[in-house]
């Protein structure tokens, strides 16, 4: 799933300062699951903006609403009346949702209310971890299902580097060394010899390095 974190309230409040009719728009997908931009957070954010503006002596009308999936055009019609009635939308969807909104309602301003952090998973209650960078050329089969691109701080194909200690990455003692996990798992399956071959430089052209990506499938096109 896509994981996000709400922007600091002060940043949101400052961004909507010039506006009088504000709609905070939650999304019912990933950001609801990661408790950053669902209906509950949309209501809380709307209330916080409202209170802050009242305190500042500039009361304002703030509504909230949630759309099931902000990243697809066909879902965006559901909130048309509320959306067009506002001066500005604060979207609590991921960066994809914010852009879909701006494309679909091109005469409106839709501002981001969350920072999209990564593609990952809830590892424990309240803990999310990144585990895919969407590089466009999956190597998980070679690394026992642990991604060296996302889970090694240096995206090494021939790790671990010399900064791996006690199973942790040199970047932070809170971060597991992805390559330590790979080596351990290979040993568990008695497959350490899989690392003998030198992996050549990665072809990054399938990743964002190749430019903004677009996928076209003739078989499903209308």
């Amino acid at each position: 799933m896509i994981v996000g974190e709400r922007k600091p309230l002060q940043e949101i409040i400052k961004a909507v300062e010039p506006f009088e009719k504000i709609l905070v728009l939650g999304c019912g997908e990933c950001v609801t699951v990661c408790m950053a931009g669902g209906d509950k957070e949309a209501k809380e954010t709307a209330l916080a903006i409202s209170v802050a503006r009242k305190r500042a002596g500039k009361p304002v009308e703030v509504k909230s609403h949630t759309i099931e999936r902000q990243c697809e055009f066909e879902y965006l019609e559901a909130g048309r009346k509320l959306i067009e009635d506002a001066d500005v939308i604060v979207s609590l969807a991921c960066g994809v949702g914010v852009q879909t909104m701006n494309m679909h309602y091109e005469d409106m301003r839709t501002l981001p209310g969350i920072n999209t952090t990564f593609m990952g998973m809830p590892f424990q209650q309240g803990v999310w971890v990144e585990n895919c960078l969407g590089c466009g050329n999956c190597v998980l089969e070679e690394t026992m299902g642990i991604c060296p691109i996302a889970r090694c701080s240096k995206s090494m194909l021939n790790g671990p580097c010399g900064g791996s200690q006690d199973g942790k990455c040199e970047v932070s003692k809170e971060t597991d060394c992805g390559w330590h996990l790979i080596v351990e798992r290979l040993m568990k399956f008695d497959k350490l010899s899989a690392l003998e071959e030198v992996k050549p430089p990665k072809d990054w052209s399938t990743s964002h390095s190749g430019g903004p990506r677009k996928m076209i499938r003739e078989d499903v096109k209308l």
Partner: protein, 305 residues
């Protein structure tokens, strides 16, 4: 092809001594020359660090050229952190054109250690495929992308290995992989935990790696108790046992104790089968190097025409 001084000393079978010079956070050529004068003649080659610990400093290649001008054999460090394959291959050609031969391949400390923590970490290549890529440039005259070099280049490819990183059981195998990738010489992370280094070397010998590649054991003279503690707590991939800290702490003359410890370690390393030399990293204490090399009984250094 002409050999670098480092290659010549390695080939002669003499116990090799390499040094290290940390480029300044300035463009003061005289500082680099000053350190060059201290190291030249007492070590066989001098490493130039590449923005070590992700701190912006003068380029290792530029410093290498200054040493070439002083008739000192430089070892240029190249990390994968700051440059993609276009820049790295271009810099290698530039370094060779400037008379530099020894190139040490490293991954590089993550940028969040340094003075530009907001920098983008490039890591287009990793240290392993960097070794292979340089070997291919030299032996096959081919760039990573497949195009041919217009003329051959002659380089001597080094790499590092860290016996103090984990998983320990994999570390000797990783060294074997670097040999497979095409490395010509190895310098290790600084050794303070001799017991662990010896266990690693035992595995290296068991795998026969020491016969395929010369291994230079890394040592750092401890200048002060603060420096020892800093290395223990703040330098990634380093192990400084408490006994070492306690020994420096107990000493009246801490600098002398640091030198004594370093000399003892070098003398001991010399007795370990498969250790072809030492890599002496006295960064920010370059002036002590002649004394250490002398007291370790490693002077005069071999000279070749």
């Amino acid at each position: 092809m002409t050999m670098s001084n480092l290659q010549k000393v390695l080939n002669s079978g003499a116990f090799v001594v390499t040094g290290e010079l940390g480029p300044p956070k300035s463009a003061e050529r005289e500082k680099i020359e000053h350190h060059g004068h201290l190291l030249g003649g007492v070590v066989d080659a001098v490493n130039l660090t590449d923005n070590q610990t992700a701190i912006v400093r003068t380029s290792s290649i530029a410093c290498g050229k200054i040493l070439v001008d002083m008739d000192i054999d430089p070892v240029i460090q190249i990390t994968c952190r700051d440059r993609n394959r276009i820049a790295i291959q271009s810099d290698v050609l530039g370094a060779v054109a400037l008379g530099i031969k020894n190139i040490l391949c490293l991954q590089g400390d993550h940028a969040n250690f340094g003075n530009e923590p907001a920098a983008k970490n490039v890591n287009d290549l990793d240290s392993m495929n960097l070794i292979r890529s340089l070997k291919n440039m030299r032996d096959e005259q081919v760039f990573i992308g497949g195009e041919k070099l217009e003329a051959p280049i002659d380089i001597f490819i080094g790499a590092v290995e860290n016996p103090f990183a984990d998983p320990f059981e994999y570390r000797a195998y990783r060294l074997a992989k670097k040999v497979e990738a095409g490395v010509d010489f190895i310098q290790t992370q600084a050794i303070f935990d001799m017991d662990r280094f010896e266990r690693w070397m035992a595995k290296v010998r068991e795998l026969g790696i020491h016969k395929k590649v010369p291994i230079l054991a890394g040592v750092i003279p401890i200048k002060s108790l603060g420096a020892a503690r800093y290395m223990k707590n703040n330098v990634s991939g380093m192990i400084v046992p408490d006994e070492i800290i306690d020994r420096i702490k107990a000493a009246e003359n801490k600098k002398e104790e640091g030198v004594k410890l370093c000399v003892e370690m070098i003398k001991h390393l010399k007795t370990i089968e498969g250790v072809a030399g030492v890599h002496l990293m006295a960064v920010a204490w370059e002036e002590i190097v002649p004394e250490i090399v002398e007291r370790a009984g490693l002077l005069p250094r071999p000279k070749f025409d």
